[in-house]
Amino acid sequence: MIGMLRYALLTILAVVFLIPIVFIAFTSLKSNADLLTNPFYALPEKFEWGNYAKAWEQGRLSMYMKNTALIAFIKVPLGILIEAFAAYALTRMVFKGSNLMFAFFLVGMMVPMQATLVPLNIFLNNTGLVNTYPGIILVYIGFGVPFGILILRGFFRTIPKEIDEAALIDGCGDVGKFFRIILPLSMPAIATLFIFDFMATWNEFLLAQIFITSDSMRTITTGLLAFRGEHSTNYTLLNAGVLISVVPILLVYLAFQKYFVSGLAGSVKG
C-alpha cells in the first residue's frame, strides 16, 4: 500500500515537472499563427518539425553549441582538477590554518556575481583576456572553485586514512597518493561534480553576455537570445532552440547518473 502511494506521489511529481517541458515541446512544433490563435496548452494544429531545422540554421545553434562545448569541456575537467588538488591538501596534508583556508574558499560562494562584473571587466581588458576563451574559462573556474572544494573535501574525508598509510608504506608519495588512490576512489564525487559543473557552465548567461562580445564566440544561452527582439519574440523557434540546447546536458547526466547519489552523499557526511 505504502509502495503504491509512493509511486502515485512520484508519478504526480514527475507529471508536474514534465508539464512545462511538454508545453515547450508543443510550442516548438507550432506555426506562429497557430501559437497566437490557440491556447498554449493545445496540441499543434499541424506538427511543424521544420522549426527544429530552422532554429538550428537561423539561430546558428551548431556554432553556439560548439563554442559552449569547447568552454565546458576545458573548464569542467580543469576546474575539477584544481578543486581536487585543493581538497586533497585540505584533507590530507595537515597544516596550520587548513580549516581557516577552507572557510576562505567558501567565502567565494557568498560573493554575488553581479558585484564582480566591473572589476572583472577591468581585469580582463587590462590583461587582454576579454572576448577570449581563456578569459571566460578563467572566470568560470574562479566561480566554480568554492562549490567544487566543498563537494570534494567532504568526499575525501570519507576515505579512510589507513589507505593513505598503506600507500605510504608501499612507497607512494603525496602526488602518487593523489593520482593513484584518492582520485580513483573519488569517482562518484567527481562524476557528481562533473554533472553540476557542466550544467552550470552550459547554462551560464550573465558572464558570457558581458565578457564575450564577438558573435562567433558566443555561447548557447546568449545565442538563443537572437530569437528575442526589441519588440517581438519568435517563440516557436526559441522553444525549438531551447529543446535542442538541453540535449548535451541530458547526455552528460545520463552518462554520469549512476554515480550521482553516492557522490552527493559524501559532501554532506563531511
Partner: protein, 432 residues
C-alpha cells in the same frame, strides 16, 4: 585507471591549446578606442587601418549587410559588430561604462537612458560634426533634438518611433465601430468592446512601460500639453488633480476589466498575442508593429491605427552614441560608419527590416503600411515617451504606482503623492 588519467589530461591540455589559439580577435572588440597608425586630421581616416567596434541589438539584422558594404567601400576600416538582447545590451553598456571599456559606437535609446552616457562625459560631442555635415537636412529635427543633451548633439539619430493606438479592423467591423474622435467616444467604445466579448486593451503590465503608454496618453488628456511637459521636466508638482484623474482611470479600467486577465503580471509579449488573432480590439504600440504582424504570419491589412483623442503622439528616438575617448582617426572612422548606416541609401535598401528611420525622405514599402500614418501623426506634435522623459528612479516609481493603483494597494491620490515624493527625492539628491 592510470591510462585513463593520462588520456584525460592529454585531451585537456590539447583542448586548452586549441582554445588559446582560437580566441582570435581577443581583446579587440571591447573597449577598443584606438587606431593603428600615426596622427591624422579629421576626415582623413581613409589613409590608415582602423577597427571600429559597434554594439547593437540582435534583431537589427540589416546591419550585417550594411557593414559588409561599408567595409568594401572602406577597406582600411574594419568593423566588429557585437549583438545583444535589449536587457543584456543595457547591462553590458553599464558595465563597460563603469570600467571605461565602452566600444567605439553603441546603440542606445534617447531620453534618460541615453543621457547617462552623455552626462557622464562618455560620449563624443557631435555638435560641430552635425553642423558641418548638414544633419538637419539628413535627419528628422525631432530625432536630432532627442539625441541632444545640454545643448550637445550626443548621438547619430537612428530611429524615430511614434507610439499610438492600433485597432483590429475585424473587431471594429463586427461591433460597428470606427476610430473615436473624442475621449468620451473612446471610453464608450471600451465598454462596447467589453460587452461584445472582446478584450478592450491588449496591454500587459509586467514590465511597466506598456501600461505606461496608456498612462501617458491619459495624462496628456487630463493635464494638457503644457502641464504634461512640465510634469515630465519635473518643473510641476505631480501631486496634481490631472495626475490623480489619470490614476483614477487606470483603476477604473482595471475594475471594468478592460485589460487582459491578470494584466499586472502579464508580459506584453503575451498580451499582444490576444490582439493579433482578434481576441482583443486595441493596443498601444509603435511603428514596429507592422513588422511583428508580418512575422507572426498575419496580414497588416487587418489592422489600422488612430490617434488617441489628444493633440500629440508619444515619440522616442534611438541613436548611435560614440565613445568620447577615441583618438582622431578612430573618431573619423566611427562617424563615417555611423553616418553611412543611417544614410538614405542604406535605409532605403533595408527599409523593411530597418525600423522607423530618423533619416528624412525615406521610401516606405507596402509591407509596413502603418509607419507613415503614425509618423504623420507625430509630425503634428509629439511628446517624449515617459520612460525616456523622466529620470529612471522616477520611472520606476511610476511603474510601481500603476501596479499598486490597479491592485488597490494605493488610492489614486496616494499614487500622485508618492510620485511627487519620488520627484522631490530625485531633485534634492541631484541638487545636493
Amino acid at each position: 585507471m592510470k591510462k585513463w588519467m593520462s588520456v584525460w589530461l592529454s585531451i585537456l591540455i590539447a583542448t586548452a591549446i586549441v582554445a588559446g589559439c582560437s580566441s582570435g580577435n581577443g581583446g579587440s572588440s571591447n573597449g577598443n578606442v584606438s587606431s593603428n597608425g600615426g596622427q591624422q586630421g579629421a576626415g582623413e581616416a581613409a589613409a590608415e587601418n582602423v577597427t571600429v567596434s559597434l554594439w547593437i541589438l540582435n534583431d537589427h539584422a540589416w546591419i550585417d549587410g550594411a557593414v559588409e558594404d561599408f567595409k568594401q567601400e572602406n577597406p582600411n576600416i574594419n568593423v566588429e559588430v557585437s549583438k545583444y538582447g535589449v536587457d543584456p545590451l543595457k547591462e553590458a553598456l553599464k558595465v563597460a561604462a563603469n570600467s571605461k571599456t565602452l566600444p567605439n559606437m553603441w546603440f542606445t535609446w534617447g531620453g534618460s537612458l541615453g543621457s547617462f552616457y552623455a552626462e557622464n562625459g562618455l560620449t563624443a560631442d557631435l555638435t560641430q560634426i552635425a553642423a558641418d555635415h548638414n544633419w538637419s537636412e539628413i535627419y528628422n529635427q525631432a530625432a536630432i533634438d532627442m539625441s541632444t543633451y545640454d545643448g550637445k548633439v550626443s548621438g547619430i539619430p537612428y530611429h524615430l518611433n511614434a507610439v499610438d493606438m492600433w485597432y483590429s479592423k475585424q473587431v471594429y467591423e463586427e461591433l460597428n465601430l470606427s476610430a473615436p474622435a473624442t475621449f468620451e467616444e473612446f471610453e464608450a467604445q471600451l465598454q462596447t468592446i467589453k460587452d461584445g466579448g472582446f478584450i478592450p486593451l491588449a496591454l500587459g503590465g509586467k514590465n511597466g512601460w506598456h501600461i505606461m503608454r496608456l498612462t501617458e496618453q491619459l495624462l496628456e488628456h487630463f493635464a494638457g500639453p503644457e502641464l504634461h511637459d512640465q510634469l515630465n521636466s519635473l518643473s510641476a508638482s505631480w501631486n496634481d488633480p490631472a495626475v490623480v484623474q489619470t490614476f483614477e482611470k487606470i483603476k477604473e479600467y482595471t475594475d471594468k476589466e478592460y485589460f487582459p486577465k491578470g494584466h499586472v503580471a502579464l508580459d506584453q509579449a503575451e498580451a499582444i498575442n490576444t490582439f493579433y488573432p482578434g481576441q482583443a480590439a486595441l493596443t498601444i504600440e509603435g511603428t514596429w508593429l507592422d513588422r511583428s504582424i508580418n512575422t507572426g504570419g498575419f496580414s497588416t491589412d487587418d489592422y489600422n491605427v488612430f490617434k488617441f483623442p489628444t493633440e500629440r503622439v508619444s515619440v522616442f528616438a534611438e541613436m548611435f552614441q560614440i565613445n568620447g575617448a577615441l583618438d582622431q582617426a578612430a573618431m573619423d572612422a566611427t562617424v563615417k560608419l555611423g553616418e553611412y548606416i543611417t544614410s538614405l541609401e542604406v535605409v532605403n535598401k533595408y527599409i523593411d527590416t530597418y525600423g522607423t528611420p530618423a533619416t528624412l525622405n525615406v521610401t516606405f514599402t507596402d509591407n509596413t503600411p502603418h509607419v507613415k500614418p503614425l509618423l504623420d501623426m507625430a509630425t503634428n506634435g509629439g511628446f517624449l515617451i515617459t520612460d525616456q522623459a523622466l529620470p529612471q528612479e522616477v520611472v520606476q516609481k511610476l511603474f510601481e504606482a500603476q501596479d499598486k493603483v490597479a491592485l488597490g494597494e494605493w488610492t489614486p491620490q496616494q499614487a500622485a503623492e508618492e510620485m511627487d515624493k519620488a520627484v522631490n527625492d530625485y531633485k534634492s539628491k541631484n541638487n545636493g
